[in-house]
């Protein structure tokens, strides 16, 4: 009996281990790991009517009001609900290149003053007319609520000139400032907002092409077409103002495997975000869709950086040491190991989707060279094994993995790295304290230009530490080059190049990678359209007849 039990226990344990079995980790240094052939799935067509679509979004949409803070889920739903004066349809556009939505005409008066005329027939879903007073009120609300810091800091004043004209005065004339201002504030009717019992957080009265039919916070949002949508003239409709289907249901699916399963089972028609680990089930090596699925890949506005703490308290205030670290890190290896190759290394701290990003930077920005790293380490005055530095990272799915890889790469050249991993709240607080870390892995976004990311990282004017926001450096030359590169009238290929060259030489920060984001749909869609920031806009997509 005892023997039988032992055999049974052994068999069960063996089964368990077989089930949990995982391939031994590939050598991260030698490049792309061999990947198992992905299971090919077939796109299942759902039994839903053709004029309805179900979309999976990876995060909660939160507050649906026009002044709700940005959340992962909100980015996918807000364009169907709310309208702004203008909207970007590509990175780095100027105000006259953007799609105009509520704006009928835009006239810059001087470097900081702009007059905007709105259509005289804009109505929200309750039938309240939107006039210049509502635009002024919406901007004032956005500036006061504190959730749009750039609006709060850049908007000097806004006033209604008459029922359909507003004058907007900005505090500065930075590159992209006016475009940001025109495209970031959702316009709502003051009367509708004040009549709302929940400040429109769950039941908004919208200005967009769709309105809310049902909202189950954290789970499901059902939108229906606004039959009385104010803009009837198709030639004047922005790409975000289309109404291709009668009903859009957004389902919140946070678990990456569940998102893929939902798509495979036909529970959703579109997955707005499919993880790198799951995408091979839907995508061929050449980027085309597999088994009837349609795949859209974008870089979006986010990039991963390695910021060096250049404050005198850190050993990384030593330029040679920073360069040694940059040469020691194999960024292609990181992309292969962490993103399964679904991303691109970047040649500067900033996203490669930016309009002024120069792909030539990729080749010259610190190629992987551990021997050179060792040499520079020696020149910096450190022997192998003598230096110990702290690498701070946020506790997300990816960043701790990147931190571990950097730890391994630097260990190879004789630098010991202590990884400090914090949750979002602590990371957000500690990143401004130069005594708490030596290097930091951070995500940097941009509003269209690579200089936007540089501005956030290297601008020392008005920062909390007195030095540049991400690396604490106080370098007047860097600052003057930055001012030239980001100035509306001085931004040019030359000024951008001058900053990139000097930054690369000083090595205050290293760009790591831009991650590919994937949206996948079944045959219900024939073309997917994303906002330049990478979010799929469902009602901008083309649907099968």
């Amino acid at each position: 009996m005892k023997k039988q039990s032992m055999w049974m226990a052994g068999a069960l344990l063996a089964l368990c281990f077989a089930g949990c079995g995982k391939k031994a980790p590939e050598n991260i240094v030698t490049g792309v790991p061999k990947q198992k052939e992905a299971v090919v799935t077939e796109a299942k067509t759902s039994s839903r009517p053709a004029n309805e679509v179900v979309v999976g979004i990876p995060g909660e949409y939160g507050d649906l009001s026009p002044f709700g803070g940005n959340s992962q889920g909100r980015s996918y739903v807000k364009y169907s609900l709310w309208e702004t004066l203008t909207v970007f349809n590509d990175f780095g556009q100027s105000w006259d290149q953007m799609d105009w939505i509520l704006a009928k005409d835009i006239k810059p008066i001087d470097d900081v003053t702009t007059d905007v005329e709105i259509y005289d027939y804009i109505y929200d879903s309750n039938g309240n007319q939107i006039k210049a007073d509502d635009v002024v009120w919406s901007y004032e609300q956005a500036a006061a609520c504190g959730k749009f810091p750039k609006v709060t800091s850049n908007l000097k004043s806004i006033e209604a000139l008459d029922d359909y004209h507003v004058r907007m005065i900005l505090n500065g004339d930075g590159l992209g400032d006016l475009e940001y201002m025109l495209s970031y504030v959702a316009i709502a009717s003051k009367a509708s907002y004040e009549a709302s019992s929940d400040k429109m957080s769950n039941h908004p009265v919208t200005t967009g092409p769709y309105m809310v039919e049902e909202s189950v916070p954290g789970s499901r949002l059902v939108l229906v077409k606004n039959e009385n949508y104010w803009q009837k003239d198709d030639s004047k409709k922005a790409y975000t103002a289309k109404q291709p289907v009668d009903k859009i249901t957004f389902n919140v699916i946070k678990e990456t495997a569940q998102m893929a399963i939902a798509l495979e089972t036909g529970a959703i028609d579109v997955a707005t975000s499919v993880a790198s680990s799951e995408i091979d089930r839907f995508m061929n090596a050449d980027g085309s869709g597999k088994g009837g699925f349609l795949v859209k890949s974008t870089y979006g506005g986010m990039a991963l950086m390695l910021d060096f703490n250049c404050d005198p308290v850190s050993p990384l205030s030593n330029q040679l040491l920073r360069q040694a670290i940059s040469y020691a890190i194999d960024r292609k290896g990181i992309v292969a190991a962490v993103l399964k190759g679904k991303g691109e290394t970047i040649g500067t701290p900033g996203t490669r989707a930016s309009s002024d990003y120069n792909p030539a930077w990729d080749a010259i920005d610190y190629p992987y060279n551990p021997e050179k790293a060792k040499e520079l380490l020696k020149q910096a005055g450190y022997k192998e094994g003598q230096l110990k530095i702290r690498l701070m990272t946020e506790q997300t799915a990816e960043q701790p993995l990147v931190a571990q890889l950097i730890q391994a790469y630097l260990s190879d050249v004789g630098i010991e790295v202590q990884v400090l991993s914090y949750d979002n709240a602590l990371f957000s607080q500690y990143r401004f304290q130069p005594d708490l870390f030596d290097m930091m892995i951070g995500i940097m976004g941009t509003s269209g230009y690579v200089v936007g990311a540089w501005d956030l990282q290297f601008n020392s004017v008005g920062s909390k530490s007195g030095g540049a926001a991400a690396c604490f450096v106080k370098d007047p030359k860097l600052q003057s080059l930055l001012e030239a590169a980001k100035g509306k009238n001085t931004h040019s290929k030359e000024t951008v190049e001058a900053f990139a060259t000097y930054q690369r030489e000083m090595d205050y920060g290293l760009g790591l990678y831009c991650k590919s984001s994937f949206s996948v749909s079944n045959s219900k869609l024939t073309q997917m359209v994303c906002h330049p920031f990478g979010h799929l806009i469902t009602n901008a997509c083309t649907f099968a007849e």
């Binding site: 009996m1 039988q4 039990s5 049974m8 226990a9 069960l12 368990c16 909660e60 939160g62 507050d63 009001s65 002044f67 709700g68 803070g69 959340s71 006061a144 609520c145 504190g146 959730k147 810091p149 750039k150 709060t152 800091s153 929940d198 400040k199 957080s201 769950n202 189950v216 916070p217 954290g218 789970s219 499901r220 389902n251 919140v252 699916i253 946070k254 678990e255 495997a257 569940q258 399963i261 939902a262 495979e264 089972t265 529970a267 949750d423 979002n424 709240a425 602590l426 957000s428 607080q429 990143r431 401004f432 951070g442 956030l456 008005g462 909390k464 926001a469 991400a470």
Partner: protein
């Protein structure tokens, strides 16, 4: 008995008050600034000060604490979430029933399946069935619920297509989450009830009952079970409490917008009102469950009922 229930309910007031003060103090002292999270890294010091002023975070600690307690206990207003700008009470009222339903179904499964397995295993100690059930129990307590959840989704949603894989709707939406959530509980209840029944089996009164010629079924139902159920009920009560606050992983896997999901997002974002409100909500529910557990003791064990009646036990 009613007097006892009344006393217990009155005791809940200082307990909940203490919980509210404790969580307020903890959230205030824990590092991490909600304003920095909300405004992001590009906000200036001045903008952060403006936001702090608007959120009332720059007022003295005791003023904020007093106001919070007053609003929470006298106005039933738990504040507004920093992240979603919605009233916390409204969110909790919407989300809590889902967590409660999930916990109740999971617990019911744990009891209905785990208890008979444990009793059977004890009554047939050292048999193949006993060994097998205990081995499965070991597997159950060791297996991560999210992993089991995904396996169940693969089988029932992807392969068989008979159950929904995520979201909220009718009861069918709770089947897979409840099964995943209950598996550890089934194993725990089985192990607890087995060991509890084994303890009682050795007691003199069981030997006496058998010596008197009672049938084994009568011995089990009248003597063994009532005496062995007390630790099992305590265990079930405590796992129910744990389930209420700890269904986070399951809620995440099955995209079930319950209180666990809400709370973890709130903790990560230092959304003070949301965390404090959720904790107070959980504390009230847990106190009521524990009262229910104590009342169950009395139903099962007449000695405890007598103690309640005489007022010796509080």
């Amino acid at each position: 008995m009613w007097k006892y229930i009344g006393k217990r309910l009155l005791w809940m007031i200082p307990i909940i008050l203490l919980v509210a003060v404790l969580i307020f103090v903890i959230m205030d002292f824990v590092p991490g600034d909600p304003v920095t999270i909300m405004l992001g890294s590009s906000a200036t010091q001045e903008e952060m000060e403006i936001a702090r002023e608007e959120m009332g975070l720059n007022r003295p600690f005791f003023v904020r604490l007093g106001e919070y307690l007053y609003h929470a206990f006298f106005m039933l207003d738990l504040g507004t979430s920093y992240q979603t700008s919605t009233p916390v009470m409204q969110e909790l009222v919407q989300r809590f029933p889902r967590t409660l339903i999930l916990s109740i179904i999971s617990m019911a499964l744990a009891v209905v399946i785990g208890l008979p397995i444990g009793i059977y295993a004890a009554m047939h100690r050292n048999s193949m069935a006993d060994r097998f059930s205990m081995m499965m129990s070991l597997l159950g307590v060791s297996m991560p619920s999210f992993w089991l959840g995904l396996l169940l989704v693969l089988l029932f949603a992807l392969k068989l297509g008979i159950l929904p894989a995520f979201g909220v709707g009718g009861l069918s939406y709770y089947i897979l989450p409840a099964l995943s959530n209950a598996f550890g509980g089934i194993a725990g209840v089985a192990r607890q009830s087995r060991s509890s029944v084994l303890d009682v089996l050795r007691a003199d009164f069981v030997t006496t009952a058998r010596a008197k010629g009672l049938k084994e079924r009568q011995v089990l139902l009248k003597h063994i079970l009532p005496n062995s159920l007390i630790p099992v009920i305590t265990y079930v009560g405590s796992i129910f409490g744990r389930m209420l606050g700890g269904t986070l992983v399951i809620e995440q896997v099955f995209s079930l917008p319950g209180i666990g999901n809400y709370m973890i997002l709130a903790i990560n974002n230092r959304d003070y009102p949301a965390v404090q409100g959720s904790v107070i909500f959980c504390a009230i529910t847990f106190s009521i469950i524990m009262l229910g557990v104590d009342l169950l003791y009395a139903t099962i064990d007449p000695r405890i009922k007598a103690q309640y009646a005489s007022g010796k036990r509080r």
